[in-house]
Point group: C2
Chain length 347, copies 2
């Protein structure tokens, strides 16, 4: 307490560094768990990012003709005007079918260890290729996807620019690379929490700081950490007690579907919490609409703690400081179909 | 022919006006049928257009929470990156239901005499209100729509800015006004045909000029005229002979559904042809994908003329000069749902 009696003028006059406030200790500790979102996207493995590749990826991201009914684009479920997801329990796909999991946000997804709730996609390229093929989503094949884009001269030109020197640039693999390059650009830096991590103690209110402290001390940050405040590793859902079947449906065994290993039963990737206030409803089942309720559930079933009402509110308030600057996107103009473009199915 | 032997220098020296080339005669005649798209949108009846109103209308245009499943926005069927429509035969709506008519483009729709294939909506406000209510489309009610937008403080603020001085600005009527203001901004000036109308004879190729001439002399321009090259009046489809049931389904009697007058059986608004190359498939049934085939069909069934192959090609080439400058749209960021926001139905 004594230290805080030094006026800032005295500190400046003595050439001392700023005194160690409680906020500084919190800031220091937070920096052991979390990292700010960098101003620029990270480098991608085997996929050099160029402006032309990002622009092509943006066209493809908004391209409903990737799906066999010409109605579902990446942006349908990962809406860039709605937090990078669709704000639905589970997403619709081909023929009004429903998947069984909530769509994760595309924003900052490049920082995740792998993609999808069970990590089945090692990177954004694999995620895109999987969803295009999925009978629940776009219900297309690599062949028809390439045939579709190949039918339009503008895509030929855009692939040639994005993949210079390649004799056959318009491939399914390059489509995935272009999408990855665009999606990697969808990062949301400069949240208030980032500003705090970078040294601005005033960026968080007292309640938010309390929430951050609770988030670290109660064990939330054991799973939700790193640059994405989650998305880094896999954990059993319901460590302390299993939530009800509505929240943790018994037939979705999570990562077990990927590894077929008993220890992976009901194991999921800890969801990244960046922009979490924009991405309700919550959990892989998408059954919980309130952030406060989600925090309460995690306390009960994951940590075995009944959080007090004001603790829940403080943690939720902290989580709302994770909302960053959303990238500004100009809607791309898509090329016109030609006689050679496969027709949509009307089922 | 003699006149063209005068050199331009001679013309200039003598102070003569430019000689009457064939192109000038064509230009003059074209100006009796058509008008260029103005650089700015026209004034709207009882709806002063302001920047704030347009910005609000843009948010609403991209707002999937207008629909009761939170999945269908105006942009779903009137995709601003795909010519202002969805490039599907008929559009999907609630629960994967299908309407029975092709979605008209929203671009330049403000210049149409009325909206929809049968003119059932007197203006863009009525069109929006009808589609929000439609069981085939958004399947919502005015009450739930207002309740939805009212649940988000950002919409309260945006309506208050767009409708200053009103004690209760967030109404269904004002929603429609904001949409109309935004949609009226979606005009596509400066097509090559507009440049030609405005005096640039070099804006069209010889083939395109031939097509324009055929379009006027064969009678196409009797119905497809004005600023939108159509969209001005109602005509019987199949004047010379009825097309097959695939193109003119017997159960869709067109404007009869609006007027319940026998003379309106199979009467439709002549579709506006601006940007027609971007809006396949064609006709109210959406069954024809090729612009050339559409021209051929109109020749046979509407004009009773079997157009020669090169005439069809020339007319189609002319129609492709109607593609204008598409407005650049930044994807709006939509507010976050609150606890008071009605939940989507998951049917």
């Amino acid at each position: 307490m004594k230290r805080t009696l030094l006026s800032l003028a005295t500190v400046a006059a003595l050439g001392l560094s700023a005194p160690l406030h409680a906020a500084d200790a919190l800031m220091e500790r937070a920096n052991t768990f979390f990292q700010p979102i960098p101003a620029n996207p990270p480098a991608l493995k085997d996929n050099a990012v160029t402006h032309d590749k990002v622009e092509l990826g943006k066209m493809i991201f908004f391209e409903p003709r990737l799906s066999n009914n010409h109605m579902v684009s990446c942006n349908t479920c990962h809406n860039l005007g709605m937090g990078g997801d669709d704000n639905l329990e589970v997403s619709p796909g081909h023929g009004w079918t429903r998947g069984h999991r909530n769509a994760p946000t595309v924003f900052n997804s490049v920082f995740n260890v792998a993609q999808s709730w069970d990590g089945r996609s090692e990177d954004l390229k694999a995620q895109a290729k999987g969803l295009i093929r999925s009978g629940l989503r776009m219900y297309a094949t690599p062949e028809v996807t390439v045939e579709t884009l190949s039918s339009m001269p503008e895509y030929h030109a855009a692939f040639a620019k994005a993949f210079p020197g390649e004799s056959n640039p318009l491939t399914f693999e390059n489509l995935a690379k272009a999408l990855e390059a665009f999606e990697a650009s969808l990062i949301t830096p400069a949240s208030r929490f980032d500003q705090f991590l970078e040294g601005n103690a005033a960026a968080l209110s007292e309640q938010e700081k309390t929430g951050l402290s609770l988030f670290m001390e109660n064990g939330c940050a054991s799973c939700h950490n790193g640059v994405n405040v989650g998305g880094q590793a896999y954990f059993s859902f319901g460590l302390a007690a299993k939530p009800g079947a509505d929240i943790l449906p018994p037939d979705d065994k999570g990562r077990y579907a990927v590894t077929e290993t008993a220890v992976d039963n009901y194991v999921f990737r800890a969801p990244p919490l960046r922009n979490v206030e924009l991405t309700a409803p919550y959990f892989h089942s998408g059954k919980v609409w309130s952030l406060e309720q989600a925090v309460d559930i995690m306390g009960r079933y994951q940590l075995g703690t009944e959080l007090k009402d004001e603790e829940v509110k403080a943690i939720a308030a902290f989580l709302r400081t994770l909302t960053g600057e959303i990238p500004r996107i100009e809607l791309p103009q898509l090329p016109v179909s030609t006689d050679a473009t496969p027709k949509p199915t009307m089922r």
